[in-house]
Amino acid sequence: MKVPMRWLADFVETGLSAKELAHRLTMAGLEAEKIEEIGSLWDNIYVGVVRSVERHPNADRLLLADVDAGEHRLTVVTGAPNIAAGQKVALALPGARLYDGHSDSGELKTLKPVNMRGIRSEGMVCSEKELGLSDEHEGILVLSPDAPVGAPLKDWLGDTVIEFEITPNLVHAFSVVGIAREAAALTNRPLTTPPHADLSAIPAGPPTLVTIEANDLCPRYMGIVIEGVKIGPSPDWLQRRLSNAGMRPINNVVDVTNYVMHEIGQPLHAFDRDRLCEGRIVVRRARPGEEIETLDHVRRSLDPNMLVIADAERPVALAGIMGGAETEVSDETTNILLEGANFDMKSVRTTARALRLRTEASARFERGLDPNLVGQGMARAIHLLLEVCPGARVTAIQDVYPAPVEPKQLQMRYSRIAQVLGVEYPESEVLDALKRLGFAPRIEGEGERRTLTVTVPTYRHDVNIPDDVVEEVARVIGYETLPTTLPIGEASPVRRDPMYRLQETVRTAMVGAGASECITYVTQSAALLQSFTIGEDAGFVRRAPIAKLVRLRNPLQADRDLMRPTLIPSLLETAAANLKHQTGVRLFELSRVYMPRGKDELPDEIELCGIVLAGQREPVGLYATASELDFFDLKGLVVESVRRAGLSNFTVERAEHPALHPGRAARLVAGDTLVALFGELRPDVAAQFDLEDLRVGVAEIDLAVLERVRHVGQQEITVPRFLPVEQDFAVVVDESVPAAEVEAALLAGAGPLVTSSALFDVYRGPQIGEGKKSLAFRLTFTAPDRALTDAELVKTRGKIERTLRQRVGGTLRA
C-alpha cells in the first residue's frame, strides 16, 4: 500500500524523515518495500501565474505567455492550447531537467533558452508528461488556484511515497490513518482525526431503503442517499493524492470513495440510485442462475453461496468485491446511494477466489474489517462529497447494524510476558506501550499473581490471545531490547537419523570416487518416463503403476506433472547439459522417489542414490590416457559404495530393464532382495537424452533396502600380525562360465584362510584351446595366529583343483 508522506502528515507529525519512519515501521511489522520520491528532479521549476497570453506575431499556432513566478518573471513561447491568463502553472527555468513531451524515451533533457520565430523564450510551462507525473501531454499542467506563486514546484507538488507490504493478519494498518496510528504509537505523538460529517444529523430514510436478508454474512449495512450530485472531475489536490497513492482519478464521487478507502480503510461504493430498481438495497445470497456484469465489464455467473447487493430485482454488486456496471455512477448521475458496509471475511474470500477477482476492497474485507469502521468511513465520505459536489444534499440514511461490536477484553498473567519473551519489562513501560496503541490496559494484584487486563480496540481483529498482547508490547518497546540467552532445561539424547547416516556414508564414498552430487527437480513427464516403463509400471530400481503415480494439479511445467518414480531421467538430462562443456561426467543424486499408495494417502517416499557415468574417464592431462567410462566403472562404484555402507554379503547377476543394454545390465542382490540395478543405457535410449555415441552408465541404489540389509559396526576387525602368503591360480574353464562362479569355486576350495582374491588376467588362445578361457586369480592367505608357509598351502591346491572340477568344470594351469 502506497502512503504519501503529505497525506500521512494530515494525521501525525512524527518529526522523522521518510527513511527513518519507514525503518521504524518496518521493524514494528509494517514492512516498507520502497520509498519513492516525487519531484526529486524538479530543480529550477517554480509555481508561476500566467499574467497574460498573446498571439505570437510570427506564428499562428504559438502563444506568448507572460508568466510571473515572483523573483522570476518572463515571457515564454508555448503551443499549449489550454493556457489562459490567471492560471497557476509549473514554470521551468533554464537548467531544469524535463522529460521530452513528444517521445517516450524516458530521457531527461536540460532546458536552455531558445529563439522561436524571432522571440526568445527563456523558460517553459510544463505538461504532466514533461514533469514525469503522467503521460498527459495534450496541454500544460494547471495547478490549483491556491498554489503559492514563486514557490519551488517540489515544495507544492512533490511528495515522498512509502510503499508498505501489509501482512495478511493486519487490517488495522491497511490505510493512511492506520499507518498514522502505528507511527504515532511508535514515536509517541498525538494522532489527529480527519474532518468528518455528523451522520446523526441526516434524516432517517424509509425502512425499506436497506434490507439485510443474509444476516450471517453482513453484520452491518449503511446506505446514505445524496441528491443533486453533479458528476465532474475531482479537485486538483484530490486527484494528485490519489495518483501519488497509485490510484487513477475517475470522477468526483468515485474518487471520494477510493480516497476514503485508502485513508480510513473502509471500502465504499456509490450506486446511481435512479438505476436501482425501486431505489432500494437488498443484501442477500445470489439466486440460482443469476448473473452480473461487474465494473470491469465481465459477465459473471453467480452461485447461491455468493453474497450480493441487489436492488428490488437483481444483483447490482458483488458484496465487498466489486460494483455492477448497470448501476455505475456516470456523467448523467444526479442521485446516489452510498454504501458503507461490513461483510463476512470468509464469504468475501470464497467468492473472490471462486470468481478470480481480487480487488482493493476484497483484500481488506478478507482480513476482517471492523464493523465500527463503517461509520467513520461514511462520515468522512459525506464530508468530502459535500466539498467536491457543492450543490449536493444528503437526504436519507439507513444504518442496519443489529449487533454492534463491542471491544473485547483479554485477561492474562502479567508474568506471561516474561515467560514468552525472556525479559521483564517494568509495568510502566508495558502499560505505556499498550496505551499508545489504543488499548486500555490495567494491572491488578501483586508479584507473581499480577494480572494484566486489556481492552482491545474493535479494529484490532488480529489480537485475540494473551501472546498477541505480548507481541504488541515487544514490537513497541523494540526487539533490540531482547537479550540473547541459550535454552536451559533438561537435556535429552540426540539420536542420529539412520537414513541420514547412510546417505552421508554413500555421499562420502561417491565423492571419494570422483562423483559430484546433483539436486534435480522432482517432477517428470510421462514422455520422459517412456523408456523406463515396463508394461503398466514405470521406474528403475523401484517401480509403480504409471497411472497411479503422484500427479500434480498445478505443476510449474505443464507436461511435468508426475512425482518421479526414478531419478535416472533427471540425471540423464543433467549429464547431457554438462557434456556440452565437459569431456566426461560422474554424477550422483541422493533423493526420493514417490511410490503411490491409495488415492487419498500420502505416497511412500523412498530414498535412492542415482548415478550416471558417461564420457571420458579422465580429463585431458599430462598423465591421462584417453578411455571411456563403461559398465565396469559403474559396477566398481556401486559395489564399493554398498560395501562401504556395510553390506558384504551380496551377489551381482545379470538383469533386464527396457532402458538397459541387454548384455550390460546387472543387479546387486542380498539374498533375494534387490539392492541396486545398474548398467549401460541402450544406445537408442541414450539418444533420446541427447547422449548419442556414448556409453552411458546408470545406476540406482535402493537406500531404504540397503539400510535394512546392511550391518553396521557388527563385523569383527582383526589386527594383522603375520605376513600373508600370495599364490596365483590360472583356471581354465568354458567360455560360458561367469567369472563370479569361478571365483566362488576357487574360494570355496581355498578355505577360510583366504583374506582376498583378485582376478588379474583373462586369457584366450591356442595354448588353452577353442571355446575356453583362462582366468588368473591371485589369492592372499593369512592366518590370525601364525606365519603360513608355502608347504602348508600345498594341500590347499589339491582341494581347489577338486572343487573347480566339480563346480565349474575347470582345471588349473601349471
Partner: protein, 347 residues
C-alpha cells in the same frame, strides 16, 4: 730392477691408473690388472720364490704392505665413484617440479547438502536432533495444524502445488514446518529438533525465486523456553556460519504458527553492517522467519500452552548459501553445472 724398484714402479703406475678410473667398469678393470688373481701384485707375490732367499721376507712384507695400500685406495675410489654415480643418476632423474601433479579425481558434495550438514552439526552441539519428514503432505499438517485455516488470507502467502486426490487435501509441502506437528505428536517435551528438507512453491522462477528449494526448520519446546533463547540460538548459528562478531536483529513479522513472529537478519559480514552491494546497502541480510510457537499449534498436538513454550524458525538453505558466497542466481543450485558445483569443493 730390484724388487724394490719393481714394487715402486708398480705402486706408481697403480696409483696413477687408479686416479684415471672414471666409473665402476674402469675400476674393475684396474682391480683386475693390479689386485686380481692374475694381477701384477699377485704375480709378484707368486714370483717371490725366484728372489734371493735373504730378500724374500722383506720383499714379501713390502708386497703385502703395497697390497694393503692399494686395496684401501681401491675401496676409497670405489666409494667415491659410487657416490659420483648416484649423484649423476639423481641429476638425470630430476624433473620440472612445476609440471602438474597427478590429481586424484574427487567429486563434490552439493553446496545445499554442505550447508545442511554444517547447520545440522552446529545444532547437534546445542542438543538438536536432525529429523526428516515427508515432502508430499496433507493440508492438515501443512496448514491446519499450523494455524493457517483455509478461509484465511494467510493461506495465500504460500503459493501451493496441489496433488491430485479424491477427498483429502494433499500438497507438496510449502515449508518444513509441518514437521513441527509431526514431531510433537510423537513425543512429549522437551523437544529440540531441526528438520532439513526440500519444499515447493507454485512460483515462477527468476534469479531470486525457485519453485523447488530447501529449508531447515528448527523447533524447541519445553518449560521455560523464551524468545531470548531463540535470539541466542540464532546468534550462535550466525556466528558459526558467518564469523564471531555477527549480531542478530529481529523485526516484527507475521507467520500464523508463531506469536510473537519475527524475521531475523544478520549484520552483513562483508561490510560489517556499513552497507554494500551484497546487503543492498542495508547492512543486514535476512536469514529467515522465526517466533514463539503459537499456543494454538501447541494445543493442536495436545501440549499445554500455559506450561510449555517453544520457539521455531525456518532458514532458506539456498538463501544462506547466496549470502555466504555472494551467489546472485538461486537457479544455479539446481542447474547442476559442474563448473558451478566444483567451486564449492574448497568451500
Amino acid at each position: 730392477m730390484t724388487y724394490l724398484e719393481r714394487l715402486d714402479d708398480l705402486r706408481q703406475r697403480a696409483t696413477e691408473r687408479l686416479a684415471e678410473t672414471t666409473d665402476l667398469a674402469s675400476l674393475q678393470e684396474w682391480e683386475r690388472q693390479f689386485l686380481g688373481s692374475r694381477g701384477e701384485l699377485t704375480q709378484f707375490l707368486r714370483g717371490l720364490g725366484t728372489l734371493p732367499a735373504e730378500d724374500r721376507p722383506a720383499a714379501g712384507r713390502a708386497a703385502n704392505a703395497l697390497k694393503q695400500e692399494l686395496t684401501t685406495a681401491y675401496e676409497e675410489r670405489r666409494a667415491q665413484i659410487a657416490a659420483e654415480e648416484l649423484e649423476r643418476r639423481l641429476q638425470e632423474d630430476a624433473v620440472d617440479v612445476t609440471l602438474p601433479g597427478r590429481t586424484p579425481q574427487l567429486g563434490t558434495v552439493h553446496p545445499v547438502w554442505q550447508m545442511i550438514r554444517e547447520v545440522s552439526e552446529i545444532f547437534a552441539l546445542m542438543g538438536f536432533q536432525t529429523v526428516f519428514g515427508p515432502e508430499v503432505e496433507t493440508g492438515r499438517y501443512n496448514f491446519d495444524l499450523l494455524n493457517i485455516p483455509s478461509d484465511h488470507p494467510a493461506r495465500d502467502v504460500w503459493d501451493t502445488i496441489i496433488v491430485e486426490s479424491e477427498n483429502e487435501e494433499i500438497v507438496l509441502r510449502t515449508h518444513t514446518s509441518p514437521m513441527q506437528a509431526r514431531v510433537m505428536e510423537k513425543q512429549q517435551p522437551p523437544v529440540r529438533v531441526i528438520v532439513p528438507g526440500r519444499v515447493y512453491r507454485y512460483e515462477a522462477q527468476d534469479a531470486s525465486h525457485e519453485w523447488q528449494f530447501h529449508q531447515i526448520e528448527g523447533l524447541a519446546v519445553d518449560e521455560g523456553i523464551r524468545m531470548s533463547d531463540l535470539k541466542g540460538v540464532l546468534q550462535e548459528l550466525a556466528r558459526q556460519l558467518f564469523g564471531p562478531e555477527r549480531r542478530i536483529r529481529f523485526r516484527c513479522d507475521f507467520f500464523p504458527f508463531v506469536e510473537p513472529g519475527v524475521d531475523f537478519a544478520v549484520d552483513c559480514a562483508i561490510c560489517a553492517g556499513r552497507g554494500c552491494r551484497v546487503c543492498k546497502y542495508s547492512g543486514w541480510l535476512e536469514m529467515g522467519g522465526a517466533g514463539m510457537v503459537h499456543p494454538r499449534v501447541l494445543e493442536g498436538v495436545g501440549y499445554d500452552p500455559e506450561r510449555y513454550t517453544g520457539f521455531a524458525f525456518g532458514l532458506g538453505v539456498e538463501r544462506l548459501l547466496m549470502m555466504k558466497y555472494g551467489v546472485n542466481d538461486i537457479r544455479a543450485f539446481q542447474g547442476n553445472d559442474l563448473r558451478f558445483l566444483r567451486q564449492f569443493a574448497a568451500a
